[in-house]
């Protein structure tokens, strides 16, 4: 089996429109959640989110591109530019045939759907823009990243709600590890901050109207975010041979299904995923120094996740650092695991342990070291990223420094 390393990363999210500004914001424990702005927001009860406000797509894309790019595609193509530029790779000849794209998204072109439904139902229009279909399809982001970078290998979209990015990253990892691909572009993107997107979540009664406070006794729900993070996964010897800067090694991945409830998480499913990821990475539980938690800020997730971590790590659970960066950038749903991988890599590379901000009061059901309110400077050599989706689909990634 081949070793898989990360040689490039890029992002756009509410904390920053590149990796450096995102890590800077995390290290300063900044919260980017605030009042959202979009059509009909006054008809919503939930009005806060991690919305990207300092991004004018016209600065980065041609007019023809914009007519084909939903916002979730814009985010993916934009973040992929940063990641591929950092990797220094140019995809031509044989390499382009053995390099592909796998991204996660839950909503796909939801902005396009929302605008078009408004036009035909609310405004009574009988004509919609000719490119609604290629703009809203869930694989639009993958296809445009592929076209923009000449990536001709295995490429597809993964959609498993809040675990979409982690599942996508896992598939990319498997393809490089097995030798089926030399380089994979992976990660995820999401843009659900529109009237229909938030209205649907509002109906589920799991959204907070005042902030995301994972693992805190006063937590009252999740807060959505938007954006993308994209990574370049490369076969280790290939990266070494060309003298590439290696950011981290992806050393294990596992996925499980709860087979229990469509929205309630299960301790067993989470525990089995964490254990299997450790086994896949050939790691002892004691090696893990930091976990980027799923940590949504809902009562159910945070309690369940704490129990699963304690069942796997036993005595080591009290030495572990566990944080939920959703408290700063919001929950990017299908893109969340990707943005959270940026925090994992920063922990391995720079010893920057991102905090859980907004923390007010201890919850005995969540008695882990959750890095409350302030980032920490501590060296770690192995980390994990958890994602536990609605539908009971769990995906956990293990990484090592290199």
């Amino acid at each position: 089996m081949k070793r898989v390393v990360v040689t490039g990363q890029g992002t756009i999210n509410a904390l920053g429109i590149d990796v450096a500004s995102t890590i800077q914001a995390m290290s300063e424990s900044r919260c980017a959640i605030g009042q959202m702005e979009f059509t009909d927001i006054n008809r919503l009860n939930i009005r806060i989110g991690g919305q990207i406000k300092n991004f004018d797509p016209k600065e980065y894309f041609e007019r023809q591109e914009l007519s084909l790019y939903d916002r979730f595609t814009q985010f993916a193509v934009f973040a992929a530019r940063e990641a591929i530029l950092q990797s220094g790779l140019i995809f031509e000849g044989e390499l382009s045939h053995y390099s592909g794209v796998i991204l996660g998204t839950a909503g796909g072109g939801l902005q396009t759907q929302d605008e078009s439904y408004r036009a035909v139902y609310q405004e009574g229009k009988n004509r919609v823009h000719p490119f609604i279909v290629p703009r809203l399809m869930n694989n639009a982001a993958v296809s445009h990243v592929s076209m923009a970078n000449n990536l001709k290998g295995p490429s597809f979209t993964v959609s498993t709600a809040c675990a979409s990015s982690n599942h996508a990253i896992g598939q990319a990892f498997h393809l490089v590890r097995s030798g089926a691909a030399q380089v994979m572009i992976t990660g995820g993107s999401e843009s659900m901050l529109c009237f229909g997107g938030i209205k649907a979540w509002e109906g589920l009664r799991v959204m907070s109207h005042d902030g995301c406070r994972p693992f805190c006794a006063t937590r009252n729900g999740m807060v959505q975010g938007e954006g993308a993070a994209i990574f370049v996964f490369e076969e280790y010897e290939h990266a070494r041979a060309r003298g590439a800067l290696i950011l981290a090694e992806i050393s294990g991945f596992a996925m499980t299904s709860d087979a229990a409830d469509i929205v309630m998480p299960s301790i067993g499913g989470a525990r089995r995923a964490i254990l299997a990821a450790l086994k896949d990475a050939k790691m002892n539980p004691e090696e893990i120094g930091y976990i980027n938690a799923h940590g949504t800020g809902t009562v159910a997730n945070d309690k369940t996740e704490t129990s699963a971590i304690k069942e796997v790590f036993k005595g080591h659970a009290k030495n572990l650092m566990v944080s939920s960066t959703k408290s700063m950038h919001g929950h990017l749903i299908g893109g969340t695991g990707a943005v959270e991988l940026i925090a994992c890599i920063a922990a391995l590379k720079d010893g920057m342990i991102a905090p859980t901000v907004g923390y007010e009061k201890a919850d005995p059901n969540c008695d882990l070291d959750i890095i409350p309110n302030h980032a920490r400077d501590k060296k770690v050599s192995a980390v994990m990223s958890n994602a536990f989706a609605f539908g009971g689909l769990n995906a956990v990634i293990a990484l090592r420094s290199i």
Binding site: R63, Q64, S67, L68, R127, H129, P130, F131
Partner: protein, 88 residues
């Protein structure tokens, strides 16, 4: 009215092809101005929106449309007819 329709159609097509209106003349072919099939579909959409008309255009087989979509002149003629039919 005729010139107004012609000027507007040329403006929309030129904008879609990222050309100045002075570079697009009524005698040109759509392929001469570098408009691909998606570009033409989008230009037709913009024209429909502006004049509030429906243009019988088949993107699967542009040749099967009810008018010749390969020439700017025939496109303008067809639109003029549609616009005047709407007014009447």
């Amino acid at each position: 009215m005729t010139n107004a329709v012609q000027d507007k159609v040329i403006k929309i097509i030129a904008e879609q092809a990222m050309l100045d209106t002075s570079e697009v003349s009524i005698d040109m072919l759509i392929e001469d101005i570098g408009l691909d099939s998606l570009g033409l579909v989008e230009a037709i959409f913009s024209i429909e929106e502006y004049f509030e008309i429906d243009i019988p255009f088949n993107a699967n087989d542009p040749a099967a449309s009810e008018f010749d979509v390969s020439k700017i002149k025939t496109i303008i003629n067809a639109i003029e007819e549609l616009v005047s039919a709407k007014v009447n």
